[in-house]
Symmetry: C2
Subunit: 434 residues, 2 copies
Amino acid sequence: MKSELRLGIAGLGTVGAKVAQLIERKAELLAERVGRSIRITAISARDRSRGRGFDADGMAWFDDPVELAEKGEIDAFVELIGGADGVARQAVEAALSRGIPVVTANKALLAHHGVALARLAAENDTEILFEAAVAGGIPAIKTMREALSANEVSRVYGILNGTCNYILTRMEKEGISFDACLKDAQALGYAEADPTFDIGGFDAAHKLAILTSLAFGTEISLESIFIEGISKITIADIVAAAELGYRIKLLAVALNTDSGIEQRVHPAMIPARSSLAQVDGVTNAVAIDSDLLGSILLAGPGAGGAATASAVLSDIMDVAGGFVPPTLGLPPSRLQPYHRARMRAHEGGYYIRLAVFDRVGAFASIASRMAENGISLESIVQRKADRRAGEGTAPVILVTHDTTEAAIRAALEGLSRDGHLSGEPQMIRIEDLD
Amino acid sequence: MKSELRLGIAGLGTVGAKVAQLIERKAELLAERVGRSIRITAISARDRSRGRGFDADGMAWFDDPVELAEKGEIDAFVELIGGADGVARQAVEAALSRGIPVVTANKALLAHHGVALARLAAENDTEILFEAAVAGGIPAIKTMREALSANEVSRVYGILNGTCNYILTRMEKEGISFDACLKDAQALGYAEADPTFDIGGFDAAHKLAILTSLAFGTEISLESIFIEGISKITIADIVAAAELGYRIKLLAVALNTDSGIEQRVHPAMIPARSSLAQVDGVTNAVAIDSDLLGSILLAGPGAGGAATASAVLSDIMDVAGGFVPPTLGLPPSRLQPYHRARMRAHEGGYYIRLAVFDRVGAFASIASRMAENGISLESIVQRKADRRAGEGTAPVILVTHDTTEAAIRAALEGLSRDGHLSGEPQMIRIEDLD
C-alpha cells in the first residue's frame, strides 16, 4: 500500500465537518478502495472550540487558512470556506503555488477566477478538483472531464438550482404563490434569508459558467450569461403551461452555435413528458449532448451536507489515486477565448401572457403587431374578462412558432404603444427538449 | 508530455473499428486532454483484408488475438471480440498475466469470470476497465467505482436492455403487438435474429450481475439472478398499467436486504410519473441509492457503435492517465462472498390479470383464495365478458397491497384448482419507485 494521503481542510461548516466525520468513520473502506489511507493532518475554521463530531486530536490547528495552505504538512488542500475572493482565494493560490492539489466546493471562486487558478495549478504541475461546486452530488464534472473525454459537446443544460426547483414544484403541485413558497423554503433551510442569489438565477449561472468551459474547451465567462430569475412566474403561468403540455423550470443552457457560445439561465417551458420535467423539488439534473453519446442525463441531489461531502470525498479519492485530468479539461494554454453568440438571434417558440383591456381593437392590435414582426402563432387562448375593477382586463395567452426574442420584444413594445395592455406582459421561452 | 500509450486492439467489428477511427481522427484532442498521445500499435481481427475506415499502416497485424496479447508491443490491451470464453478470455488472461491493463466491452466475460479475472489482474498489479460492458455510453461503472467511492450502496436498478425497452415503448405508443414490434426491432438492427438473449432478460442480467458486485462489494453471481423476460407482456397489460398510472418496463434490480442480496430482472409496473418511466426507446438508465447521495439517476444510450466506442475511449484515457481503481471497486481479496436473499419473501404490490370463466362462484373463489393467503386488494376491475367463443371469459384485473410472491403463487394455484381460470394468469410486480 502506498504512503498515506495527508489532507488539510479549511472550513469546517456543514460540509467540512461531514467530510472529516466520514474520513474518520469510513477510513477502512476508503483505504481499501484507493489502496492508500487518508488522514487529516491540519484543519482551520473560525471557531476552534466548537465540537464538530470528529476527533481532531493529532490534527494541527491553524487560525489562518492561508497559513495552513502555505505551511501545513499536507499532500492536498481542501477548501470549504466559500466566497469568490478573500481568504478562500488566497489559501487556494497558496496551496497551488506549493504544487499541492486543491479540492474545493467553491463555485464562485471557479466561476470568477477558474482560468487564472487553472493556469497557476498547471504552472506548478498540479490541478484543482471541484466536483462539489456544480450540482452537488451529481458526478457532472467527472462525467464531463473523464467519461466524455473523447466527445465533443454541442449543448449542456439542466436544472442547477434546488431552491428554484423546490419553489416551482410546490407552486405547481399545491397551487401556492411564489411568495408563500419562498417563505416555506426559507423556513426549511432550502433558501437563504436573502434569496436573491438563488431565485435571481445567479447561483445556477455560476455553475453553468463552469460547465460551459468544460463542455466547449473555452475560457469561463460568467459575465456573458443572460440571467433571468423566477420571481415573476405566477400560478397563472404554471396552470397555462400544464394546459399546453409543459412544465416551467429554471433552466440553465449553454449551446455551441455558429456565431459563438450562448449561455442563459431563465425560466423555460419544457415538455411535461421530458425526463427533465420529472426532476422535482431540490433535485438537480444535468443533460449533455455530444457527438458520440447523443444525449445523456444525470439527476440527483444538488445540495445538502452529505451529498456535497460525497462529491468532495470522490475528488479526494482521485487525488489519492494519483491522476487528475487538467482542471478545465484541457491545458489552460489550449482553452479557446470565449466568443459570445448573438443572444437576440436565438430561435425558438415563446409563451406570452398578456393582460389586455377588454375593448374593441385589442385583438386586432395583437394580431397585426405579431404579423408585422413576422411572428406566427401556434395557439391563442383568451380567457373571460375580469370586470370587477372597472374596465375589464382579459388574460390572453399566445404560443408562437419559432421566432426570435428581438421580434417578440418589438411586438410587445408595439402593443404597449397601442395602449391595449393593462400590465406588464409575461414572456417565457419554450424549450422543446427531447 | 509523457511517453505515448501503445494500444493493441483485438476485434474490429462496429465498435473496434469506431474506436480505431476515433483515435485517428481525434488524436490531438485526446492527447491534449490526457497529456499523452495514444497510438494503436497492434491489431487483430478475423479478416485482414477488409477496409475499416482507418489507416492500419504501422500497426502490427496478428491473426491470433491471444498472440497479440502475449507478444504485442503494447501498454494496454483492448478486447472487443466478445463471448464469455474462447479467445476473448484467453487473450484477456494473457494480457493480464503480462501485467498489461485490459479495456473490454465484454459483459459476458465479466459476468461469468469477473472475479477470477480481477484476481489475475491484481496478482499482476494491473486492472480491467469495462465501462462499455454495462449500459453502453452511460458512465455507470465510473460513477459506481469513482464518484460513489465514499458511499455505501443499498440499491441499484434500472433499464439495462435497449431492445426490450424499444419493444415495450412501441407497444405502448402504437398499440402494436409484441411479435410485430420484435420483427421491426430485428429489421432495424435493434434485435438479433435469435432475440432470446435480449428479450429473455439475460443481457440485462449479465449487466446487473456486474453492477451488483460493484454496488455491494460482493463476488459476482449471475446464476443467483431471478430472470423473467418480456415475451408474455400483452397490449392488455400495457393498457391496464396506463389506466392504473403505471408503465411497464423490463427492470433490473439489486437490493441489499437483511437476509442477503436480491437480484432480479423482470417486467415491472413503475409509476408513470417517475423519471425511469420517461426512459423510452433504446435508451438505458441506471439508478443508484446510497447512504450519502440518496438517489441518483443516469440515463443515456445503452448501445450503438459510437456510444460504446466513447465508453471504451474513456477507459483508454483513464489507463493513459495512469490511475485505475480496483477492477471490482475493492481488492479481490476483500470482496464478500455472495449471499442470496430469500426471493419469495420480497414484499411488494402485484398486478394480476386473470381470464375467468363468466359463471357463478368465480368472483367468490377469487376473493376467498386471496383472503386465505393473506392478500388484501387495492383494486379489482372486471371487464365485460367476451361471449363470442361459447362460454364467456371475463378479464379480471387485481392490484394487491404489499404481499409476497409466494402468497400470490399459492392463491393463483388455488384459483386454478377451483377451475375458474380459462387461461394462464399474468402477474407483474409493481415497483413504487420515487
